[in-house]
């Protein structure tokens, strides 16, 4: 299911509950009580505290104006390029999908699920469940059947069509460089003439855009390469480690260890402030994923997304098609009409445009960088069919607003009864987790909110002075962690509160789970790798090294 599915229905139910007298809406909306908050907040610490003087409909309208301002603020070109190579936006998206699922519609697991413990009961470990699903036994459709037996162990990949211009190959599927996609039609129960494609992935959120689905292809190809090597070694009788008795599991072990290493050593140091880095080495075992992380903090990646990318040789500023617009890249999800599916091979991603080069390699002519961390969100995340929301009829103050991902995220925060950013920061100061100087001053927030009223607000409803006065004191947590990043790091990294929560959440997810009776997954993977590749290459520790390995 794609992002935001079912939001409208949950929102309708929540509005009904929210309209009741205050005692009946003390609890979070159904579906938003799965995660435990970090603290036991007082009503005055919550953004939707009735005593704040702002009624709920007015608060939601104010959030609509704030979200509008965040979206139009992203139009401004000056300062729209940050430090982090854009590939990490999508590694982050992939990892957070692996950690968190707040989808409104859940499985039967919900019936007996204790409240507020989903974050620790759900696999909050970064174990690639979003890639492997139930494995070949539980999710056979994701794996290739073999000719000899039903034994499945390699990921099924999709095909891209030839675009070379060679008449003998034109339009033929020649390159296995896409995720598998199910063409809809009568054979699979869809209507005749349905031209859509259903992504065949364990977590369909990983087909949200072509960058993340190409990352999935990268992981799948790596697994397949590892499996092939492990299978050959075992079949030839040359394997020493007993762990090669199950080559599929050996490949999964190695890929998971590579993934952990890249997250810990390549991704997180790029986005975390220095003060948060030691947290990665001292995880609180019971932490899991908390409410504040799931519903606000882990959504920092929304602010990293750019509206256009240099994607490949053809789809880049120097190529015949020009840069690829985000809307078009999001259309590759497949369930909206697009002329780009089935894909042709001009859409194979050029990772050199998204990642730092390997040491010693030439820097590419073009490399995309993520937006700097700050309170702006690319406009296509407001207008694309996947992210836009029709203003609810029950809230006339929202009529005429174009609502999208920014508003939906903050409205979910209200439904989940999140604290304000200021309240959470103060709690963390009281708990000795951050310093008093790590709270963003009110006047700094006021300046940022006021400066956000750019010429991009033409024809839109941006914040009023009254809104600014309120929000500078009581900021939605999602806005606050982006604003603190801009305030404390000039957008280079996350700030104190966001950095701490991201570090804690990832530290918990990166706890070494062991493997196959071995105490340490990492140790087991290293031993397996050395047996597979005694003469090198070294096990990848960065995204660029992973790309090089997968390419063979």
């Amino acid at each position: 299911m794609r992002h935001g599915q079912g939001f409208d229905l949950v929102f309708q139910e929540w509005l009904r509950i929210a309209a009741q007298p205050a005692p009946d809406r003390a609890e979070p909306a159904p579906g938003f009580d799965r995660y435990e908050p970090m603290f036991d907040y007082q009503p005055s610490e919550l953004l939707d505290d009735p005593a704040s003087g702002v009624a709920l409909p007015d608060l939601l309208a104010m959030l609509a104006r704030l979200a509008t301002q965040m979206h139009v603020g992203a139009l401004k070109v000056a300062g729209s390029v940050g430090r982090v190579p854009a590939g990490y936006t999508y590694l982050g998206q992939f990892a957070i999908h692996d950690l968190v699922n707040t989808a409104s519609f859940r499985t039967t697991l919900d019936r007996n699920l204790p409240r507020r413990q989903f974050g620790s009961i759900q696999s909050a470990a970064l174990d690639l469940a979003s890639l492997y699903g139930g494995g070949p036994a539980g999710s056979p459709a994701f794996f290739e059947p073999t000719d000899e037996t039903e034994h499945r162990a390699r990921f099924r990949l999709g095909w891209m069509r030839d675009s070379s211009g060679d008449p003998a190959r034109l339009g033929q599927p020649t390159r296995q460089e896409d995720i598998p996609r199910l063409a809809l039609g009568p054979d699979v129960g869809a209507a005749p003439g349905d031209k859509r494609f259903d992504p065949l992935l364990a977590d369909t959120r990983n087909a949200d855009n072509l960058m993340i689905s190409q990352l999935v292809v990268l992981m799948m190809k790596t697994h397949n390469r590892l499996y092939d090597a492990a299978h050959r070694l075992a079949a030839d009788g040359r394997a020493h480690s007993r762990l090669f008795a199950r080559p599929f599991e050996a490949a999964r072990c190695i890929l998971t260890a590579i993934y952990h290493r890249i997250l810990r050593e390549d991704f997180l140091p790029r986005i975390l402030p220095d003060a948060a880095l030691p947290v990665l080495d001292t995880p609180a075992p019971a932490a899991g994923v908390r409410l504040e992380a799931a519903l606000a903090v882990l959504r920092f990646g929304h602010a990293m997304v750019q509206p256009v990318y240099d994607f490949s040789a053809v789809h880049s500023a120097g190529g015949p098609s020009g840069q690829a617009r985000l809307e078009r890249l999001m259309d590759f999800f497949g369930m909206h009409p697009t002329r780009d599916l089935p894909a042709d091979d001009t859409w194979v991603i050029d990772w050199s445009m998204f990642l730092d080069p390997l040491p010693g390699a030439d820097r590419p002519v073009r490399m995309n960088r993520a937006r700097p961390f700050g309170p702006t969100i690319a406009e296509p995340l407001r207008t694309h069919a996947a992210t836009r929301i029709a203003p609810p009829a029950e809230l006339p103050a929202l009529a005429g607003h174009r609502l999208g991902l920014g508003w939906r995220t903050m409205a979910k925060g209200v439904m989940a009864r999140l604290p304000t950013g200021q309240a959470l920061a103060r709690r963390l100061v009281q708990a000795g987790r951050i310093n008093a100087g790590d709270v963003v001053p009110t006047d700094a927030l006021e300046r940022m909110l006021r400066a956000g009223r750019t010429a991009g607000c033409i024809g839109e409803r941006c914040l009023t002075e009254a809104d600014i006065a309120f929000l500078a004191q009581r900021s939605p947590l999602f806005f606050y962690i982006l604003a603190e990043a801009r305030h404390f790091t000039d957008g280079d990294k996350l700030g104190p509160v966001g950095g701490l929560i991201v570090a804690e959440t990832f530290a918990s997810g990166l706890v070494d789970p062991g493997f196959g009776g071995e105490v340490s997954l990492r140790t087991a993977a290293t031993a397996l790798w050395q047996e597979l590749y005694p003469s090198g290459p070294a096990m990848p520790a960065t995204m660029a090294e992973l790309v090089a390995f997968a390419a063979g």
């Binding site: 139009l75 296509p380 750019t454 010429a455």
Partner: protein, 161 residues
């Protein structure tokens, strides 16, 4: 120049007859796409900029905004705010269309070459802003007037890109 060239070379001077104009229009372009430079085609990162630019243009057209009163640095910053990056070494000009005059400002040869040649290379396709598809499918969320502003911005900005 030899005798055969004297007979075959087209006359590049003097007025064209209507038949000669039609004959030129009927032929394919004479392109050397090896000389094409796609980087000349100005990229507007976000097509949401077009609607705001359209409003700017219409304000000028209606006399509510006099571009002569806007210093170039201010205009450059406004344009940047609304998502239109003007390269630092480009000048900025806004000019009214004189009445009862048909004016068509056509792009330079290098830009036209780059724009057309992209369609003759594998994978080259037209960079259509998504608003057109959304409008036709009824899902744009824009009013008629908003779509008009978007169109004004697009065709004023795009100069045959």
């Amino acid at each position: 120049m030899n005798d055969s060239q004297t007979n075959d070379a087209p006359d590049m001077t003097g007025s064209l007859t209507k038949d000669e104009v039609i004959a030129i229009l009927s032929q394919d372009y004479a392109l050397d796409c090896t000389q094409s430079d796609p980087s000349l085609l100005m990229q507007v990162p976000d097509s949401a900029a077009f609607a705001r630019f359209g409003r700017l243009i219409l304000k000028m057209a209606l006399g509510e905004l006099d571009p002569a009163r806007v210093p170039e640095p201010v205009m450059r910053e406004v344009l940047d705010d609304i998502g239109i990056p003007i390269p630092a070494d480009w000048a900025i000009r806004f000019q009214p269309r004189p009445p009862k005059t048909f004016i068509a400002m056509y792009p330079g040869a290098d830009m036209a070459l780059a724009a057309i040649c992209r369609f003759r290379q594998p994978g080259g396709d037209y960079p259509m802003p998504p608003q057109y598809g959304d409008w036709l499918s009824g899902s744009s969320g824009m009013t008629e007037e908003q779509f008009y502003e978007f169109r004004v911005g697009d065709y004023t900005l795009s100069y045959c890109r």
